[in-house]
């Protein structure tokens, strides 16, 4: 039977660590988390995320909790595909440095945000949380995005998610946009996660799961 320490070492944790904050990556407890489930999933495929708060000094405690809940929901959805959400690296861009990117006014600005910034870890996918996204758009991402983000290729690198003040919506959007980046396109099925609009049923087919696991950002099992 695999131990917590073995899995932790596999995902880059050593010495003393907090299970909730370091192993799971939550800032607070989003609900009842299952250590057994996460240990099992990490034996298969996993993806790590750079979670970047754009205009971090403007994020309220409620906004930060909403990110936790969104990741929790994403773990539930991806778990049905035997895909673990592994390490979460929390990062931030101050409002002064963000220079307005915390409020996305158009798709072009979302693309510019991903061009101008890059998460700290080259082997983790960049997810930018912004405070508002104008219009009826709630998120934006490249489809089948690149992995070699440190090697300066000209392609949109990352996904942009708006804080919706509705944890269920933000969770679906997070899972949906990351799935785009990992290669999935829209599907006209309101029960499917990749339906063009949210809210939706959040389900994924076995074919979609297989495609997700084949992306270059997805790491092999521990």
């Amino acid at each position: 039977m695999v131990s917590l320490r073995q899995r932790a070492q596999c995902i880059g944790l050593s010495g003393g660590f907090s299970v909730l904050h370091d192993f799971f990556g939550y800032t607070d407890s989003p609900g009842s988390v299952s250590l057994k489930t996460q240990l099992d999933l990490l034996g298969g495929h996993r993806i790590d995320l750079d979670l970047i708060r754009v205009g971090m000094d403007l994020f309220s405690a409620s906004d930060v909790r909403e990110i936790d809940t969104a990741v929790y929901m994403m773990r539930e959805i991806y778990g049905t595909c035997s895909l673990a959400v592994g390490r979460l690296y929390h990062q931030g861009i101050s409002a002064a440095d963000a220079a307005g990117y915390q409020d996305i006014g158009s798709d072009g600005e979302a693309v510019d945000l991903c061009d101008d910034w890059s998460g700290i870890h080259g082997d983790a996918m960049d997810v930018y949380f912004v405070l508002t996204y104008a219009g009826d758009t709630v998120g934006y991402s490249a489809v089948d995005g690149p992995c070699d983000t440190d090697n300066a290729k000209y392609a949109m690198e990352g996904s942009v998610i708006a804080i919706e003040h509705s944890p269920d919506i933000t969770g679906l959007v997070l899972a949906h946009e990351v799935a785009h980046y990992l290669g999935l396109s829209h599907v006209n099925d309101s029960t499917n996660l990749m339906n063009p609009t949210v809210p939706n049923g959040g389900n994924l087919t076995s074919s979609q799961c297989s495609n997700l696991r084949n992306h270059c950002f997805v790491k092999g099992g521990c």
Partner: protein, 332 residues
């Protein structure tokens, strides 16, 4: 690809103004309030102006909701929306003021300039820069004196280097030409674009249009005589087909039949810089990507004459310096 908000499909009631207003008024929480605010213009049109103005002006409302209300006001048809946003711009709340300033730059008229000047004088940070840019946008769009931006000619650009790829360019064809002016819903007021003076670019998988103003396309020599906003660059969403403005061109005469040109993002960041010259009734200009973290090298050379725009050279090179990095946040 983008994801949009819409009510669950099993909910067959129309998402009408009544439902949205119930959410905004706090009588319902069936959809996120900020989304309801954003959607009101699409169902209520100009009739939504009074409630959006009231929401945006209310200092007791959440900042995020006020910002969404300002963005929604900017999407309303008619001349009253700029005046409503200018009213909101009296606020001292910096983030709400920042959004009002941003939207005024896009749709405002000369009446907004005094307030924008006041904000620019009063803040040395990002808010002041936004206000200066907003004033410059109005001045260029309406060809008013003053409100100059730093010259793009002084800015360092990215050298192309050896590993260059061509950028695919083509003219618009068939149905695209007739529909073109309707394709870009957020054009600045007064800019009239048409198909013959516009070009489609495919730049490393990004589908964009350079759309030139009809009047400038017919009389490009005017660029050497007065400042202008001659063109926008629009980006296409490959999933929805929706198009939105990504960059705006601002030109300023520099004397002797020449002009400087800069392409700016909507939030005021200079992305491309260059210069142009007038030869008879034609304008030739060159643009290069501004050196900044994460920017690839780009060279575009254009010629505009007789109502047409032609790209004579378009190349894409590698990114010279890596993108900026966020700071880690310790948790727990």
């Amino acid at each position: 690809m983008s994801t949009n908000f819409a009510p669950p499909p099993e909910d067959r009631r129309p998402l009408d103004a009544a439902r949205l207003r119930a959410v905004v008024a706090g009588r319902s929480s069936e959809i996120p309030r900020a989304r309801a605010i954003a959607l009101i213009p699409t169902v209520a049109g100009a009739a939504a102006l009074p409630e959006l103005r009231a929401l945006a002006s209310n200092e007791r409302e959440a900042v995020g909701d006020r910002k969404m209300a300002i963005a929604a006001l900017a999407r309303l048809p008619g001349a009253q929306a700029p005046a409503a946003i200018l009213e909101v711009a009296r606020t001292r709340e910096p983030h709400v003021l920042g959004e009002a300033v941003r939207q005024l730059g896009w749709i405002g008229d000369a009446s907004a300039l005094p307030r924008l000047e006041e904000v620019a004088r009063g803040d040395r940070g990002n808010l002041g820069k936004k206000a200066s840019f907003a004033a410059a946008l109005i001045a260029h769009r309406l060809r008013l004196p003053g409100h100059e931006l730093p010259s793009p000619a002084a800015v360092a650009t990215v050298a192309l280097g050896d590993q260059v790829k061509p950028i695919a360019v083509r003219r618009l064809a068939g149905p695209e030409i007739g529909a073109f002016s309707r394709l870009i819903p957020d054009l600045p007021p007064g800019l009239k674009v048409d198909g013959p003076a516009s070009l489609h670019l495919d730049c490393a998988g990004r589908e964009q249009w350079i759309a030139m103003d009809q009047e400038v396309a017919l009389h490009p020599a005017a660029l050497a005589g007065e400042k202008a906003m001659p063109a926008v660059v629009a980006l296409r969403n490959l999933t929805t087909g929706g198009v939105s403005t990504a960059l705006v061109a601002l030109t300023t005469p520099t004397g002797r039949g020449a002009f400087s040109i800069g392409l700016y993002s909507r939030n005021g960041s200079l992305r491309f810089a260059g210069h142009g010259t007038i030869h008879g009734d034609a304008a030739e200009f060159e643009l290069r990507a501004v050196a900044r973290p994460g920017a690839p090298a780009v060279l575009i050379r254009c010629r505009g004459a007789n109502g047409h725009l032609e790209i004579t050279e378009a190349k894409l090179g590698p990114i010279a310096s890596p993108a900026r990095r966020p700071k880690p946040i310790a948790i727990g």
